[in-house]
Symmetry: C2
Subunit: 451 residues, 2 copies
């Protein structure tokens, strides 16, 4: 047996011989008792690498059940943004117990990080970055980077600070640094333009937008005096973007965003996330029953009208859902701004009329074929009925496109996330109005004959 294999017990090999991502998958798949045992016996450096990744599940639960000294060493070794997230998962007693074991410097940094609200730059940032005075040379800076490399989450962006005020002067990338003449000032190698930065309370979507816009690997978080509080790295942003698009997809599907994986969300918490919207939509949709009651005379006289109710209503909902999904994305990506609402309206009205007319023509053909083909008899006034259906389709698809496209603007105007506009919500909105449009057109065209 070679000394290397002796170093860890054979049952730990799946956690040490593979890459970090696979090791995490292995640990996630273990049940709690085994996972605590493994975590207590793995080489500390390996365990730190695993706990540094947000993909590791139950991180708080595992750390709470490890021996205190090991848990403290782990928290000290982890990137501080992750350590703060893990501490937030603990209950108050465990957090107090482990906090007492931490060095005061670490504890202060973690307390600071835990103070920032979720989804902000402050909650995503790490305080483990590299900064040097702006009057250092390339050689001095490179030596410093080499010395601190192990303890920093990123060294690819180096922050040059005013030697007196410690305010951020310029950002320097590691590639610019190594390309420089050793005796030159590091500042001479830096970006010539003002550094791009965010504040601690900046929303993570805006952080992602800036990182993407300027092709950055990290963005500094500054306070009012332009001191660097921390940096947000591109991998954190990537994770934030993924969870943001999951949230948006859930909201558009008409439920509250679910943060945990589907299979790990409890039955009751899943029901809670879904029942709220489902009941709210149901109450809204009850207005359709009220609308129908209002038209019950017409319904009794012309049962044939009811045959097309689901068809007409769903077309309105579908066109609304299309328009909403288009505008939610356009607003999220900044392609369209709030003040552009009327431009969008001026596009959606003719689009809706044209799309509605297409469906109207299909409906005319369908009714004619059924009538002439003897498949169904729509009665003596079938031509008028067919035109009623076609006209209602034009009206309802236009209304659907218009209201579906305006809803995200309205939500943004009222201070809500435009992505809260969901397909079911738009459908409900359009269903109620759609019925009114249908029966009004029917009264107009069929009045005196069928009605």
């Amino acid at each position: 047996m070679t000394p290397i294999l002796q170093a860890v017990a054979p049952e730990l090999l799946p956690f040490t011989a593979s890459n970090i991502a696979d090791a995490i998958d292995h640990l996630n798949a273990c049940d709690s008792a085994v996972a605590v045992d493994v975590a207590s016996r793995l080489p500390l450096a390996r365990l730190i690498d695993m706990f540094d990744r947000p993909e590791l599940q139950r991180a708080g639960g595992l750390i709470a059940r490890m021996p205190d000294a090991r848990a403290a060493a782990l928290l000290e070794g982890m990137a501080d943004d992750r350590a703060a997230d893990v501490l937030l998962e603990l209950d108050d007693a465990d957090r107090a117990r482990l906090s007492g074991r931490l060095r005061s410097g670490t504890l202060e940094a973690l307390r600071q990080l835990m103070r920032y609200p979720p989804h902000t730059a402050g909650s995503l940032m790490t305080t483990e970055f590299v900064s040097v005075p702006a009057d250092w040379t390339v050689a001095q800076t490179l030596t410093h980077v080499r010395q601190v490399e192990r303890s920093r989450e990123t060294v690819y962006a180096i922050y040059l600070l005013d030697p007196a005020s410690h305010a951020l002067v310029r950002t320097l990338s590691l590639r610019q640094l190594i390309a420089g003449d050793p005796d030159a000032l590091a500042l001479s190698q830096a970006q010539r333009t003002e550094p791009v930065w965010v504040a601690a309370h900046t929303d993570q979507e805006e952080v992602a937008r800036l990182i993407r816009r300027h092709d950055l690997l990290a963005i500094p978080v500054l306070d009012e005096a332009r001191h660097v509080l921390g940096v947000v790295t591109v991998d954190d942003v990537l994770d934030a973007l993924i969870s943001e698009s999951t949230e948006d997809a859930h909201k558009f599907g008409g439920l509250q965003a679910i943060e945990r994986p589907y299979m790990r969300t409890g039955f009751w918490s899943m029901i809670k996330k879904r029942a709220g919207w489902l009941c709210a939509l149901f109450l809204g949709e009850m207005l359709t029953a009220s609308a129908m009651q209002h038209f019950d005379d017409e319904l009794a006289k012309a049962v044939v009208l009811t045959l097309f109710i689901p068809l007409i209503m769903s077309s309105g909902g579908n066109s609304g859902s299309q328009a909403t999904s288009l505008l939610i994305r356009a607003l999220a990506l900044g392609e369209v701004r709030l003040r552009d609402w009327w431009r969008v309206a001026l596009r959606e009205i003719p689009s809706g009329m044209l799309l509605g007319a297409m469906l109207g023509v299909i409906a005319l053909i369908r009714i004619s074929i059924w009538q002439f083909g003897g498949i169904y008899d729509y009665g003596p006034h079938w031509v008028l009925l067919a035109f009623t259906v076609a006209a209602a389709l034009v009206g309802i698809v236009t209304f659907g496109s218009l209201s579906g496209s305006m809803l995200p603007f309205l939500l943004q105007r009222l201070g809500f996330d435009p992505a809260s506009a969901s397909a079911p919500f738009v459908a409900t909105l359009v269903d109620v109005t759609g019925l009114v449009i249908y029966f009004s057109i029917a009264a107009l065209i069929l009045g005196g004959t069928l009605l």
Copy 2:
């Protein structure tokens, strides 16, 4: 006037004095003639930086109208993945004319890149990366990186190749390199585990997943002999992810994905993207009319039944839309695999029954209040009617949750993207079945009384 300000004409200052992203916004806002004029006169290095970003609009159109020599110098200077994208935007004549001006090495690299299908690693990758023989020292490697830094898109990942076969041996990050002892072998500083890599035909979603899973700044693209063809960098993946989530949002909203910004998509191409699905859904929804025709006797006998049709159908659609959005994301993130379909079904059936029962209770209360309050008279059999509606809701919401959750699995099983399952599609599926469920339950409960 200082020499630096003299170097460019004052009207070019907005393009040279600001950061690249702002300069691009300025150029995007100019009309074509002005943009060509500006592009022809800007310092070449600045122009290259601007054309390297996919955010620059009309890149192909601008390059086609610049003087040939300048266009060629620009293409030579640009990152080759972007240059290939821009060449693909040109018409055949322009492409042939400018290709003739390129150096043969560049032309060969660009031809290679243009061959890969869109949305693959090959189409995203750049061939401008750093690789060195695996027997070089840290100092040798660092000197090489310094020399080639300007001409490489990324230097943060360095690929160590077998000196004889040129196959990839290990990946080395720049931070690992600079932390190393100058006389040590570069290989000794490298990752100990096998490099993570993709093939040229790997889908961009998988590339993004791997970059995210392993927290990479770049991932190598290998051929069968493990030669490095190119690398995909994290900023390209970020852009790809954003356009992928836009596509998914559009598909879920029930239209074909639109790649250009909303306001820059022509009226007719917008209609085309929407009309296809809208008509297809309309044809599907026509089955509701057929279902209703089948039940026209019941409808004529009990008009009161029709009052609840929109309410019941929409609840099925809403619960289906919830389940679909949950499962699309769970499948996209790999939280749930194809073989887990039955586990999901076993969760969705009780969820659907419970959610349906909640709505059923609300419906019972609503009908009782209206009846007792004298707001509407549902007739002598109103209690039976109320229970018919409640029972139908349980059945339809259960069916909606089940079919909405199974549809993404079915699509994946058939080789389609699960994200093609749209809210309107699920709604249509559930609407038709929902009617049948409603009328069957009505026949069962109301048979002999109302029917």
